[in-house]
Assembly symmetry: D3
């Protein structure tokens, strides 16, 4: 199958650049296995960084365009490259094939591994958002708490070891102060640094990498021949009337790399 990983920010125009996109494509390809072809796509415009709900909203229109282009190019499923699952309901309205949000996929998976899970993320500001995503997924009763360390993306990239140590300390707190038995890593950057796998090994409880949860979720849907419910996410009437309608299109200068 062909799976697209859709970045909500123009990473190719940032300091991380194409190099990081290629590195992520390679990791995704390893994780997905040989029967899945990976494309990593970044939107062509948007705020320099997404650090607020408003900036997330600014990103969604370009994500919609990139998603439609990916489907026209034959992708079998799309995974959103942000743990906030930005615009998931709206993007599913546009899509003809599975669109997977990592938060939803990881939290649904966590439900099946124990009695109660906690999410550990890197910014306190997203705690209410992540609780809302748990509610939208329908799993709020299984969510013990959302915890966070205050790590900026910059800090993560400058010192991986310090970032990992902070994250691990927070996970240990989660386990020693509550009955949570499963953890979800609420951060794609740390996910691409292998933090979840290392934490799983060191802490002795499952710590879910949301990227891998989302990729295998997309594979499962593809293999089962399922798409998100059209009854839940009906196509915009303008698209129903004209499948090629451009709801509000822009010229593109988007980057894609392949894993």
């Amino acid at each position: 199958m062909h799976l697209t990983y859709l970045l909500p920010a123009p990473m190719h125009a940032t300091a991380l650049g194409e190099t990081e996109m290629r590195r992520r494509a390679a990791l995704l390809s390893d994780w997905a296995g040989s029967d899945t072809r990976i494309t990593v796509t970044a939107v062509d415009r948007g705020p320099a960084s997404v650090e607020s709900a408003y900036e997330e909203y600014l990103a969604i229109p370009a994500m919609g365009e990139a998603l439609r282009d990916a489907e026209r190019a034959g992708t079998d499923a799309t995974v959103l490259g942000c743990f906030g699952d930005p615009g998931l309901d709206g993007l599913r309205e546009l899509a003809g094939r599975p669109v997977v949000g990592p938060a939803g996929a990881a939290m649904a998976l966590a439900c099946t591994l124990g009695h109660s899970f906690s999410v550990v993320t890197v910014s306190s500001g997203v705690r209410p958002l992540l609780r809302r995503l748990a509610w939208e997924t329908g799993v709020l009763p299984a969510l013990c708490e959302v915890r966070s360390v205050e790590l900026s993306v910059l800090a993560i990239n400058q010192d991986h070891d310090a970032a990992y140590a902070a994250l691990r300390a927070e996970c240990e707190q989660a386990l020693s102060t509550t009955d949570a038995d499963t953890l979800v890593l609420g951060c794609m950057s740390m996910g691409f640094l292998g933090a979840a796998e290392q934490l799983t090994a060191e802490l002795g409880v499952p710590v879910l990498n949301p990227i891998r949860a989302a990729v295998h979720h997309a594979q499962t849907l593809h293999r089962m021949g399922l798409t998100p419910s059209r009854r839940a996410f009906p196509a915009p009437p303008a698209l129903v009337a004209d499948a090629d309608a451009e709801l509000m299109h822009h010229a593109q200068n988007r980057l894609e790399v392949t894993g």
Copy 2:
């Protein structure tokens, strides 16, 4: 005080046009009372109509720009002109003064008038969205159900009486089949046609007009000197660093009318 009513679609460029905007401004002015000055503002671009979650996302960036312009022009509070409360959390991040969503304001008010309320709206597709708004407001336990008739905006405008009759029949069903004791009209167009007031008189239970609920909510916050919690809706860091930052701006051709 100065209150801005912010339309999420470019109504001035549609068949309803400036005439309807002026009519709405006059009604808002009547409802708000003589100590409140009303401006009705429409965004300058966006999908021709908002009939899906994706189109709602398309509207939010222009709403953010219009909101910032309204605050620069001295508005004391802004009411969103859509019962879906589009982008409310993100818009509050941008704002320095109260931003009010009609669904949240009306549902919070409904909580105080009885034991259980139902929302009656004009499109079945928004039922899950309205349940989510009830959850976000924190009032889901008081929500009995969301009911809908299938009325297009076109149908409402072509035959007000038929639309009212359909709405009233649905309200009667809501009362005869459940213990709901209070109703919320989930539709701004019907709100501007006086449906809520007529239904209140005819059915003998409170039927809330969300427009008026939102206007008085904004007045209450203004008079109490309150704004939405900055802890819940922190300003985007880019705006904190530079208050005049244009996160992603466009040339404007927006219309404002005064009530």
Copy 3:
């Protein structure tokens, strides 16, 4: 409009006396604005102080009589002068016009200002009651916690500064140990001392004064032409049969002052 503030204890017969009633009337008048006439009424009998649920029950019959008298005298709405919303459902059965409980009004308002609110009150014994009021209002999911300091009414009146300091310390704890983003002051006495406004300014989050929330709530209902749902609060059959029925009346010696 004419608004009555109904005290559940015979304050005119206590040490605070008429002087405090006049002071409160003046404050209410300032808060309500020039288009609202205020009457402060105290019941004519009842326990010397209300410090338990049983004493609250003892107060309700006299409140019912005072409410009916206020409506006969032409009040447009009545606000209960106690954060416990004593007898609200029963009093609404008697009333023909809005009766507002400050706890319900303030908690509904708090729902609209953030994701999660806490109530900070002055007596630990009322914590279960306030949770019940949140449930009755339908907003329990938005209630983070009810916190309290142990301040007696006497202590508040003897040393306002010490009382304010204790309250502020508790509010700071509420913010530092939970994700609550909005606070509700659960105390009318502190409300009449301006504590909420000072806390809002000093803490940087909205701290709601329940008195003002209730007054503006009553104004909103009056302006929208709404009363609590008769379906939720049906009139006692004996009153339906005879509108002048005295369900169980007593001679009165009640005090009213005007703001």
Copy 4:
């Protein structure tokens, strides 16, 4: 043990009169068994009938006085003679020995007999109240629904068979339209007519008589040496200071009969 059954209305002054009080005392005595002495007490004043929340509030002060008198006379426990559990929290503050509300006792018992129970009562107006009692007891998740037929006390007394038939039809509806597996009879009058026992036999599911549930609940607490938690229901400070304090007393003309 000595158990007092406390009627919230002056039944001795109504058409049912002492005869009915004696009949009820005899039934209670049969149900309780030979080791329990029964006293039926009616309050000495109050509304002629209790058909609204306000009238329930009117009854509570006299119930408090009667409860204190019963405890002074040596009762070991008191059962409230009304399925609305009027004033239960306040009365427990006054009491030194168990006070049992039939709704709470019956709903807690129903929880243990299946997965989901429904209450079937005789007046639609009390449905919200009974839901609140389920919440206060903490068993709302087990409550399937509250159903009602419209039977007045007069109608029940005039034609027992018609009343039973209506009740049985409603119970059958409860079982055929939901998954409720246990029923609670929400009516003391029908309870004293043996309806619950007859319905249990005819319908093949447990139909709980709330009177008997409350009596055995009181016996259980007495035998286990338990009283309701003083932490939940602290004594009014005025009573703590002076155990003989009369919070607000009246001359009495109360009737007691013994089973």
Copy 5:
């Protein structure tokens, strides 16, 4: 009535032996009163000890056989001798008379004594199980928390005083850090050592002994003529077809002692 107390492990084959079974039978007899005859029965096989969910499952088939034998021998009700209520739903399918789980009975009773209760047990591993039992009983909203000390059955038997001290310290923590107003002792061994009664006296809040709660629950059902709902726990079809069917029987070597 005749009540059987059914031990899920072959206690007669352990160090505690028949002596402890006789001691328990005597205590049960004292608690139940003179009108109830007690039989203590231990299953004839099963894991040496029950310290996991899997071992609990291993115990259930033998419990089913013992239950059927007890009913054939004329027991009027059966109380399960384990706070985990092992196999309660399945055992009720087999039974023709009341089967009572101590956890469900004690938690339902706790609901009626205050606003919120906590369970204090002796092993952290059962906390999720006890939360599930609270959910199955329908009382989860009233459950404040499940707390535990780490006491093995061996430790309890070796040093009662140390075990009691640890338990009391945990109960004090439960009361000082939460609003729980009622406690449930989640341990049958400590129940048979009188810990609940001592804690009730020393802490000033009700601390429920689950054994006595279950015994009186069984008496209540017997006196009211009620059995668990057959609609909730239908008989296995094989038993309906042949009331004497042995679903999967074994030779027995069971011990019974009488209180």
Copy 6:
């Protein structure tokens, strides 16, 4: 990977026999894909059929033995062959590798495809059980309802077309009377007849085959290197002390077939 499908009843000793086991193994193999080796194992003893909770309990000990044998034989994961997820918590205590319950896996997957799902199963008696499984998985808020037709296993096997028609009619009812947007087929027999895939195609909403959901769930866990949380499902102490302990073993006469 090597995946074991564990049947809770001795199917090889029933009319369906080895032929059906081979057919199921082949289907599982097709669904799982070429990189997964399938073994179908039936327990060696147990009730002739599992039609009650008690019979489910009778099956669990033999399932535990079969599971341990499968792990000793090198299986990488085990899927339980019953939609009731019998003994899942206990079996996970025994296991060193993933054990997957089809109900939990399918319900978690359904959460991610829309706002609200319903389960459609073939026996009304399991509705409370399936609600409990939804609660244990943590997804109860997303469960709209559990519906059932009354189809015996015999009826399904005698007339597939009639069974499918009944199931489809129930699914159509689920969609026309509620807002459910996703369905879960609550029946393994119908799953092996391809009903879910046909319903998905005919009804236009996702209808999940729980068998395939469970198989892909097991693959996902295997590929991510995850096992259920040992903190949630600790090994029985007797096994920790002696990894080869036979908690309660029996001679075996089990059948395995390979897909």
